[in-house]
Amino acid sequence: MKIIVLLKRVPDTEAKILINQEGTGIRKDGVKFVINTYDEYGIEEGLKLKEKLGGDSKVTVFCLGPEESTEVIRTALAMGADDAVHICDPALESPAPFTTSAVLAKAIKDEGFDIIFCGKQGIDDDTAQVQGGIAEALGIPQVNIASSFELSEDGSRALIGRRIEGGNEKIESALPVIVTCDKGINEPRYASLPGIMKAKKKEIRTRTLADLGFDEMPAAGRSKILKWLPLPKGGECRMVEAEEVSDAVKELARLLREEAKII
């Protein structure tokens, strides 16, 4: 089975994110970049499937990103992926989500695929759009925010669980399918020392837009980021007071809904 895992290089979850001096993006100096957290679940799920199937099943990593992405690709190879395709082109410095989808879909199609795993979203742009675009471009079903995955006994269908409000939805899908993984689907393994040593010898194939047969960037020119805005500074604790305790509590509930927007 040709198992594809997608990964993106993003700033570490704990990194402090600041806007750059020109106001055109984030400051990258001093920021540690890692594999997108949710993509790690995708890698692990792909590796688990390969181990279960055995035989000539193979896990190929696809990553669209700058040259520096080789380090996160190498980490995925060290975790156990077999080889990788790195789509790297100066024109793809900050691609729109559907540009990424179109380019990745083409590259995946060129390589061949039976199933695709990735994270439910990138923790940088937080768009959760790329997978939908890939699924459409490849003409395959998608199952988002998976919390469990297995193949049916005859191996012809994917059985996927997803947590929804109040329950677990069980989805059955034809193959190929793109599955986006949520926290909790598995516990991603560490890249072991032997894995790191082996990864050095694994192949990373680099592809440019031209290599993939694009004369111009697909799905480009449809949006433009105008401005980067810092978060408003958190103020002091807001003390909720009222004559009657019940009124104060009512007000607190209202603030949590309307101001903090968490209910």
Partner: protein, 387 residues
């Protein structure tokens, strides 16, 4: 010397850092309170390859060098210095000695299990009368046919009760003080071997420290490491690696203590401002940072030299002397910044403070390190300016 980490080294660092901060941190506080050795942690470290760092691939190791081990010990020690002890001793002393001095039969029999962490190697030199002075070893080994009969006690043996393989140096010739020592590989199931008393220590509590008792303990002659009489050479030859190991451990303690101090000072407010904003705290932080970097440079230099096959006794001793000293200083200042809560078991600094102390004592006291350094320095002057 290369100061920046290579891509491969950064990947190694990330693996061990993630492991330390997640798996190890989850058990470290309780393990040290209860003084319980964490078998499961070593099993996982073995799976990840950290118990066979310098062992060649043919024996199931990963064939990386001391520098890789330094990175690992540093990360582990930020979270739990006690855990680093067995990792250091096992890799730098037990694995290296078996690899270098074991016969093919011994290597084939023991190394694969050691490299995977299934069998932990320990190192037994110290006796009541033989500490820094290895030549004072009294434990006797008398040849009897195809076996040696060992009699005597070894004390302060880290992880001695968990060992699968014990490297023991004993006296085979009473008349030759330095040339009369021989190294043996002892398995804990050999008749006549037993575990003596357990030490109750000030720190490093998740690492057990025991006495090993040999009463007519029979060891096959094939288990002699190197050849009879090479014991002193083997023991001294392992010193550099061992010292770099403890220096790396001290570096981790210092980094852990510094991290706690800065994070705490940022949170804690007194007299209406964060204590990190007081000048007194800033001075402490600056001093800690400089010491830490200086120590790291010394430790990394020694590790890189050892990997390059260069003579590095002076550099290893310098790294150990300085890193262990500043680990204590930084732990001290960090606790001072924490104030009262830093003296409670709830904060890691209390543990790091206690754990730091022994690093200036074991694997060659600071006094011994100074003797080594001075000897080398004086020799260098003799070379440059012959008298």
């Amino acid at each position: 010397m290369q100061l920046r980490l290579s891509e491969e080294e950064r990947m190694i660092q990330k693996t061990i850092r993630d492991f330390a901060r997640k798996d190890l941190a989850a058990v470290a506080d309780q393990a040290n309170l209860d003084a319980v050795f964490q078998d499961e942690i070593y099993r996982k470290l073995g799976e990840l390859g950290f118990m066979g760092v310098t062992v060649p691939e043919e024996y199931g190791g990963v064939d990386l060098g001391t520098f890789c081990l330094t990175l690992a010990l540093e990360e582990i020690s930020m979270v739990c210095p006690a855990t680093a002890i067995a990792v250091s001793v096992h890799n730098e002393l037990a694995n290296s000695i078996v690899l270098r001095y074991g016969s093919d039969a011994v290597k084939n029999k023991f190394l694969p299990a050691m490299a995977s962490g299934r069998s932990i190697g320990v190192y037994a030199i110290t006796e009541t009368e033989a500490g820094s002075d290895v030549s004072a070893i009294r434990m006797s080994a008398v040849r009897e046919g195809d076996e040696y009969i060992l009699n005597g006690n070894k004390i302060f043996i880290s992880t001695g009760d968990k060992a699968g393989v014990i490297i023991v140096v004993a006296r085979t010739n009473a008349d030759d003080r330095t040339g009369g020592l021989t190294a043996f590989l002892v398995e804990p199931n050999f008749p006549g071997f037993s575990i003596g008393k357990t030490e109750h220590k000030m720190g490093m509590k998740a690492s057990t420290t025991v006495e090993l008792v040999f009463e007519d303990c029979r060891v096959p002659a094939g288990n002699v490491l190197g050849s009879p009489g090479m014991g002193m050479k083997i023991a001294l030859g392992a010193l550099d690696g061992g010292r770099i190991g403890i220096a790396s451990q001290a570096l981790g303690i210092a980094q852990g203590a510094m991290d706690s101090a800065v994070l705490f000072a940022r949170e804690r407010s007194q007299f209406g401002q964060r204590i990190i904003d007081f000048q007194g705290t800033k001075w402490k932080i600056a001093d800690m940072a400089v010491k830490l970097d200086a120590a790291r440079l010394l430790v990394y230099r020694a590790a890189r030299m050892k990997d390059a096959g260069e003579q590095c006794s002076k550099e290893a001793s310098m790294a150990k002397l300085y890193a262990t000293r500043i680990a204590n200083e930084i732990a001290y200042e960090s606790m001072q910044i924490h104030g009262g809560v830093g003296y409670t078991e709830e904060f890691r600094i209390e543990r790091l403070f206690r754990d730091a102390r022994v690093t200036e004592i074991y694997e060659g006291t600071s006094e011994i390190q100074r003797l080594v350094i001075a000897k080398k320095v004086i020799e260098e002057y003799e070379q440059a300016y012959p008298s």
